[in-house]
Symmetry: C2
Subunit: 338 residues, 2 copies
């Protein structure tokens, strides 16, 4: 057990892409749990693209991280002290710990895990990202056997879940990923029917031609988590009555108006192709999480659903790992092991 | 009966806003119905914003009008000759006649109307526009008592239907219209709780402030049929889980990429507010049309649903009436009486 409390704070709001100077490593006295609270020592921390949005001072679905505040995020660890019923000391537990070595949380905001659960799986394939893919695909993607699905960031924890679930339901699945190696992983590890390296294409038109080759029957479901050039490439290829679950737009985090145009073109596509575009924030859907665990947990345990984790070592490595992830530097689910 | 066949043809594709020179009045020999066909003498012709889209050579949900081809559109008239079973000569009938004095249609593409039906009502309040409002509101708007709805082009045949139906279901309804007179009509004839003259506002920000004043609880349903500045004003006011049935974007017909930016901003709004944006082309939904007539027909007959028609006189007046309509020159449903 570490006796030092350390955390990564937001030092300032990023201008465009975050840089290391936007974060600071702080230390301080060990926090004390009050009545009904627990103290967790964090062993694994999740890094996710949505955290970029929380760094901006924009009205959004959640409060921005305050300057000087601890970066938000889910962690897993051991309960060091408990003043909450139903949360025993020594238990493996998860909650919104933030980027910190320890966290005090209310007992009711903590989920106690079965011993033997791989701690990091709770942050990825069986956590928020995997659940996002499962829930968004079934509710807004509405896949049908024989259709074609395109997913960007396809080796990431959301995209790889979406692709594997869709393929199991009889869809043709097309991965878009950055680099040859990720494309190979998309095909070999996650079973995508085709994988396209967006870095090999200079512009949206060239990327579109490659996707069109891989999707001879057009696209019925576009799992949208990047925005930008990929969206521009995909929209004209959408089939009538296509669906676009919109769960992120990482290419546009920090974008200023005028960076990209094409709203009229996108709106026209939604209209003329009768697309269904639905914003998805997984926090609205937690009541379905037990159902997800029940359905997908055994498939992960049986090896029917594959997953990849990238692990950075040490809390102090979190900012660089996060910055790199936003640029596509990770292959799978980005974890920090403390 | 007129013995001359006349039609309005597309002389050339418009560059931006259509001008009179984009159309030509042609005459020719009276068309002859073949086996299974009928000849209709058109008495009333519908002008609708979607026709602007058909003038462009763009891939869309329907074929563009060919250069030299007759402008497309729905008409009502009398059956002069019939070689189709179930369509008696002399009957009042409607179909896609195009902008023409007469049309030959297959019998199965013609709908015979009850005698006594006001011919023009079939083109507006009880035709495609009214049906669009009814179907789009129930399927994609999903209105709930106590919510707030905003509709642009609110005195038009779609917007006025949407507003009246929503108000009857207990929503607060806010009209956006061009000019004081239309705002007065929106309130007095169609019962909107508030009406905002978009012409009185220099920019989207000023318009937004006026809408925000009228919608203190935010906007749950935005009936989208204009795009452009109104969309820009409305998006930030949308409530979480808001719905945007998208049935037109008249401000953007003919827009070239780069005219307007804001796709990143719009996409971010869809994501963070978990909006549901659904393209609506009414041709997909005709199987619900009898249900619409059954529900709404009696309400129109009883005066519970009001409607307004603007009537231009003579086929040769159609291009000018259409050009004016696209600029908001009409108040209600634009008809041409031949």
């Amino acid at each position: 057990m570490s006796s030092t409390y350390r955390r990564i704070a937001l030092a300032r709001r990023p201008s465009g892409d975050p840089v290391p100077e936007d974060f600071s490593l702080e230390s301080g006295p060990m926090p004390e749990p009050g009545e009904g609270e627990v103290l967790i020592e964090v062993t694994h921390l999740s890094l996710d693209p949505y955290m970029r949005g929380r760094m901006d001072d924009a009205k959004s679905y959640a409060e921005p991280v305050a300057i000087g505040g601890t970066m938000t995020g889910q962690g897993v660890g051991r309960v060091l002290r408990s003043r909450a019923e139903d949360v025993p000391e020594g238990a493996l537990a998860t909650g919104i710990t933030g980027w910190a070595s320890h966290a005090v949380l209310r007992g009711k905001d903590v989920r106690v895990l079965d011993e033997g659960t791989p701690p990091s799986s709770v942050l990825g394939v069986l956590g928020m990202p995997g659940f996002t893919g499962w829930q968004g695909l079934r509710e807004y993607g509405r896949p049908k056997r024989g259709e074609t699905l395109v997913v960007a960031a396809a080796t990431g924890p959301v995209g790889s879940m979406v692709g594997q679930l869709a393929r199991a339901q009889g869809l043709r699945t097309i991965a878009i990923a950055g680099g040859e190696e990720k494309c190979r992983i998309a095909r070999e590890t996650f079973g995508f029917d085709a994988a396209i390296d967006h870095r090999a294409h200079e512009d949206a038109g060239s990327l579109r031609a490659a996707i069109a080759d891989a999707a001879p029957d057009g696209i019925d479901v576009y799992w949208e988590n990047v925005g930008g050039r990929v969206l521009e490439a995909v929209l004209p290829l959408m089939n009538t009555h296509g669906r676009i679950p919109l769960c992120g737009a990482v290419a546009w985090y920090g974008a200023t108006p005028g960076d990209t145009d094409h709203l009229p073109r996108a709106w026209r596509a939604i209209l003329t192709k009768r697309l269904s575009v639905n914003g998805l924030i997984i926090f609205d859907h937690w009541h379905h999480y037990p159902e997800f665990l029940k359905e997908v947990g055994p498939k992960v345990a049986a090896g029917e659903i594959a997953y990849i984790e990238d692990v950075a070592e040490g809390l102090e490595a979190a900012p660089e790992a996060f910055i790199s992830m936003l640029k596509g530097g990770n292959t799978g689910k980005q974890i920090v092991a403390l």
